[in-house]
Amino acid sequence: MTDAVEPIPSVESVTGTGIPIRGDDIDTDQILPSRFMKVVTFEGLGEFSFFDKRFDRDDNPKDHPMNEDRFRDASVMVVNGNFGCGSSREHAPQALLRWGIDAIIGESFAEIFSGNCLALGIPTVTADAKTIDHLQEWVKGHPREEITVDVADRTVSYGEHTATVTVDDVQHEALVDGTWDMTALLRSDSDAIERTVAQLPYVPQR
């Protein structure tokens, strides 16, 4: 099982208009309610992003940034603390990706969620609460102006402002070097895998 490692696009930076989503502890059941997971592909999930926050019982649109025209083309989401907690469903970041989100800036992210984002090449960069608050307010006032999430430089630029953000080292390396799709890499050294297996008494040897 040795494959040539195919080139994967690097994600050095993402530029686009922003959308603010306020609130701590936004769980993946809110990002994509579980009933929309009754599918065998991820296609078409975009329109169900934050569905129950966006539509009332009779499917009438509610007051939510994702329902506002001015944010419809946004690709940079700005969130608060512990975003993406709860279920491991990759359907949640897949839905956001398909809605149009290419990068998320927040105070903090749940681990499985940021791992799932990384596997899709979506940066999840973090900044302190004050910076996030400022950015969310700015986005509200400047919905058609672009934000640049510079993963390589660990900065976020918007309007006249440039803020330093934290990009986890693993994420930085994977996105900038274009190694975020792990499959080929993980298959590349079968000898090392076999040596590991040989030390594990519970694994049937082949």
Partner: protein, 473 residues
């Protein structure tokens, strides 16, 4: 950095190499799969023209979408049927063992693994489900993954991970009658927060944990993720080994059991292991816990007042305001007396035989309240069969509960069991997130199994210890 903990030892044994991005590549000893998060991974594998590398270390079951009333095929719900059919095709093509309903072994993936002896100490276990942390109860390193990672594990039987810190949570004190493992973990999440475990693996230790049966340990490890920790574990001991000896894997192969036992004992945390953090918890004074809000950390003892948002730490106030608006609770009051519409006993947290046993003891001689719908959903067909041998099906049915077939049921809105409109439910499951149980206007009170059935028979949230006294008189 921690040293010589079970986590460190399992990590070292399974580490293939350090990858260029700084993550470690770990070998996966057991890959559990189900219908909700695997179809896309199989598809990605096909697109890459790859095959499942170790089908012999992969095991499938069906749980999220499976109906809990009529399980004959085709399922009435077309979407559910297509997911089931997809899993059947995929497991057949890849030669993966499948505990399907016909085998009599189907159930919730985190119930099936332990009861069949698939889950063992010293293993790395992954599954596309955040409650994979459950398997840590056996001293395994077990965590939930996303679908792209499911594909990676299919393709390589390994996974890329960053090593985390280890927080030891030492629990002491004897649990009051009516207080369960579930209450211990809810109180831990309340104290440390829903994101308190981010970056950590939790090692649960101390006399309270040692005195718990495997079911209780599983309930605790199960909800590690609700506290932000991707994995939690308990060191394996005689209680663990007794459970394992009775499973299919070892019942008739005591030689293999003895051989592996040596490994299992060797991977326990050393007495002089070091931890990145240690938290001590006194569970002796603990009451049965109930949630008042929309995250598992928003909970109180059943006789304790619901906090006012302004009395909470700064970071928790805003979400508390929103949560209280949703659930309609009143700060200063207790949750006692709050009327409920549905009582759900089930889920990977609390649907094992001993959970049903403890609940049955409360229900005996009582009837479900007229205004309440009560559901009992065993965690697996094996749990169901064992419960029926003990007559629990009759006991629950005669009391007015629905006795259903195994599945995730009302824990998550992917099957026919759902809350409606603004129903209030009390549930033995793990998440009270808005919309989680199928209706975005409904709300969920998390509680231990005894508390769930106590509420079912009285129609309101009640301290189950009061019912126990009633029997004693």
């Amino acid at each position: 950095m921690s040293t010589q903990t079970l986590y460190d030892k399992i990590w070292e044994r399974h580490k293939v190499k350090t990858l260029p991005n700084g993550q470690d590549q770990l070998f996966v000893g057991l890959h559990l799969i189900h219908e909700a998060t695997s179809p896309q991974a199989f598809e990605m594998l096909r697109e890459a023209e790859l095959e499942v590398e170790r089908p012999d270390l992969t095991h499938a079951t069906v749980d999220h979408i499976v109906p809990t009333d009529e399980q004959s095929r085709p399922f009435e719900d077309e979407a559910a049927e297509s997911m089931m059919a997809e899993l059947e095709t995929n497991t057949q093509q890849a030669n993966i063992e499948f505990s399907d309903p016909e085998s009599g072994d189907q159930g919730i993936v985190h119930v099936v693994g332990p009861e069949q002896g698939l889950t063992q100490p010293g293993m790395t276990i992954v599954c596309g489900d955040s409650h994979t942390s459950t398997h840590g109860a056996f001293g395994a390193l077990a965590f939930g993954i996303g679908t792209s990672q499911v594909r990676d594990v299919f393709a390589s039987q390994t996974i890329a991970m960053e090593k985390q810190r280890v927080r030891k949570i030492a629990v002491s004190g004897e649990l009051d009658d009516g207080v369960e493992a579930k209450d211990v973990i809810l109180s831990i999440i309340r104290r440390l927060g829903t994101d308190g475990g981010v970056g950590y693996v939790y090692e649960y230790a101390g006399e309270t944990i040692e005195n718990l049966d495997m079911e209780g340990r599983m309930s605790i490890c199960n909800m590690s993720i609700e506290g932000g920790a991707r994995a939690g574990y308990v060191n394996p001991d005689e209680t663990t080994f007794e459970w394992l000896a009775a499973t299919d894997r070892f019942e008739t192969d005591s030689d293999r059991f003895d051989e592996l036992r040596e490994y299992w004992e060797s991977i326990r945390s050393d007495p002089d292991a070091t931890y990145d953090d240690v938290v001590e918890v006194d569970a002796g004074e603990l009451e049965p816990m109930v949630t008042w809000g929309t995250t598992p950390s928003q909970c109180v003892g059943v006789t304790e007042p619901i906090p006012a948002p302004e009395d909470l730490p700064a970071g928790r106030r805003e979400t508390a305001v929103e949560a209280q608006a949703h659930t309609g609770v009143t700060p200063g009051e207790t949750m006692e007396g709050r009327e409920i519409d549905v009582a759900f006993l089930g889920s990977c947290t609390n649907a094992r035989l001993r959970d049903l046993q403890r609940a049955a003891d409360i229900v005996e001689g009582r009837q479900v309240h007229d205004d309440v719908r009560g559901l009992v959903v065993p965690g697996s067909h094996r749990v169901k069969a064992a419960a029926e041998e003990r007559g629990f099906d009759e006991l629950f049915t005669n009391a007015g509960f629905e006795w259903r077939n195994p599945g995730c049921s009302m824990c998550t809105g992917m099957n026919a069991d759902k809350l409606e409109d603004d129903d209030v439910s009390i549930s033995s499951s793990n998440r009270n997130f808005v919309g989680r149980q199928g209706s975005k206007d409904a709300s969920t009170i998390l509680a231990n199994p005894q508390m769930v059935v106590a509420a079912a028979v009285t129609g309101t949230v009640i301290d189950v210890r009061e019912l126990k006294e009633e029997v004693a008189v």
